[in-house]
């Protein structure tokens, strides 16, 4: 075995002789017995082994489960082969696209979104209240006051995000906080 071959052996298998291929171990040990350069390479390989040994990789099964959870949390329960462009399935984007070149400061994002949310809430509630009022007036519906009160409360400026969430209304960009 040459010194270069010994170096290649160490590069692949590290400095622990027991992990070297059986058919090359004896030749490597003979070289080691006669070459200080080989001994130097072995010392380097063992030093790298010691550094690598400080790392404990996460449990592979747990890692896989966590990776699945993260991808799912990003908005989809399945992945696609993106090499086939026609089959690309996009996650629903939580971030509303802005026109090119109009990236607004992040600090302003919550205020803009709150305003939009409040506006759409008022519009939706007003339309629903009008519909309900019309229904009552023509006697085609037997509505109790409670849904009307709930709608009025929902559309009030003081409605919290949590209440909106419970109501099922979409809140765009809720998690678009500054990093």
């Amino acid at each position: 075995m040459t010194l270069e071959e010994f170096g290649d052996l160490l590069d692949a298998y590290g400095g622990e002789a027991a992990r070297w291929p059986d058919e090359r171990r004896a030749a490597a040990e003979r070289l080691l017995a006669s070459s200080s350069e080989a001994a130097g390479l072995l010392a380097e390989a063992r030093a790298l082994d010691r550094v690598l040994a400080t790392y404990q990789p996460p449990d592979r099964e747990r890692l896989s489960t966590l990776a699945d959870r993260i991808v799912a949390a990003a908005g989809s329960t399945h992945t696609v082969d993106s090499s086939a462009a026609e089959n690309v399935v996009q996650f629903p984007r939580r971030q509303e696209a802005l026109p090119a070149g109009s990236a607004a400061p992040r600090a302003e994002a919550p205020r803009r979104m709150s305003a939009r949310r409040g506006q759409s809430g008022w519009q939706a509630a007003a339309a629903l209240v009008a519909s309900l009022a019309f229904g009552i007036s023509v006697g085609l519906a037997d509505l109790t006051p409670s849904p009307l009160a709930a709608l009025a409360e929902l559309a009030s400026p003081g409605t919290t995000d949590a209440e909106y969430a419970l109501s099922g209304l979409q809140i765009d960009g809720m998690d678009e906080e500054a990093i």
Partner: protein, 206 residues
């Protein structure tokens, strides 16, 4: 025999390749490509877990932090501009900030009785050094191409034999040796400051 310079050159090439690959992935993330996001998660999750675990010393909290960092990448992909380091510096910074937030939150709940009366200085120091090294190793592993990383994980960290690794990857034993050698050369170049510290007689060498 390859010189250290040549190996460092190989590593620089690998880092550049990584940055280019991350740039391409970023474009796909911004377009909402879930497969691209999975690739990013698979590549960086072990590193982020190691970094978070080192600070928080709590597996569940570390997982939460790593998850949040990756989801922030996903949500902000359209606004990010990557530097030459690719995703890694950005993700590490986010994980670092999230860990700091959690440590600060813990301080509010700290109980004096939990502080040991006799600090175990030597043990703690050793442990911190090892944890720093483990982060550096995780960092270096994250720069490896997927198959190299898997091969080195199976062989060196899980102790599987060459035949088992070959079977797992569906390749020949010769191909496993090639993967392992390329992976380990990259790691050796990336971690040279660390392993050379363990060689007292060459520490002062130029």
């Amino acid at each position: 025999m390859r010189t250290m310079l040549a190996r460092a050159g190989d590593h620089g090439q690998a880092a550049l390749s990584q940055a280019v690959e991350d740039g391409q992935l970023l474009v796909r993330l911004a377009a909402g490509d879930s497969a691209a996001f999975r690739l990013v998660v698979q590549r960086y999750l072990p590193l982020l877990l190691t970094v978070a675990r080192r600070t928080l010393r709590d597996e569940t909290e570390a997982e939460d932090v790593a998850q949040e960092a990756l989801l922030r990448l996903w949500r902000n992909a359209g606004d990010l501009e990557l530097g030459p380091g690719g995703f890694k510096p950005w993700l590490r910074r986010v994980v670092g900030n999230l860990c700091i937030d959690r440590v600060r939150a813990r301080r509010h709940m700290a109980v004096v009785d939990e502080v040991p009366e006799v600090p175990e200085a030597a043990t703690q120091e050793t442990s911190l050094v090892e944890q720093d090294l483990s982060v550096r190793v995780a960092d270096a592993l994250a720069t490896l191409p997927e198959r190299q990383r898997l091969a080195v994980t199976l062989f060196h960290f899980e102790g599987q034999g060459q035949g088992e690794v070959a079977q797992r990857l569906g390749i020949s034993e010769e191909a496993v040796e090639s993967l392992l050698a390329r992976a380990r050369r990259s790691l050796k170049a990336e971690l040279k400051d660390e392993w050379r510290e363990l060689l007292p007689d060459v520490r002062d060498a130029p």
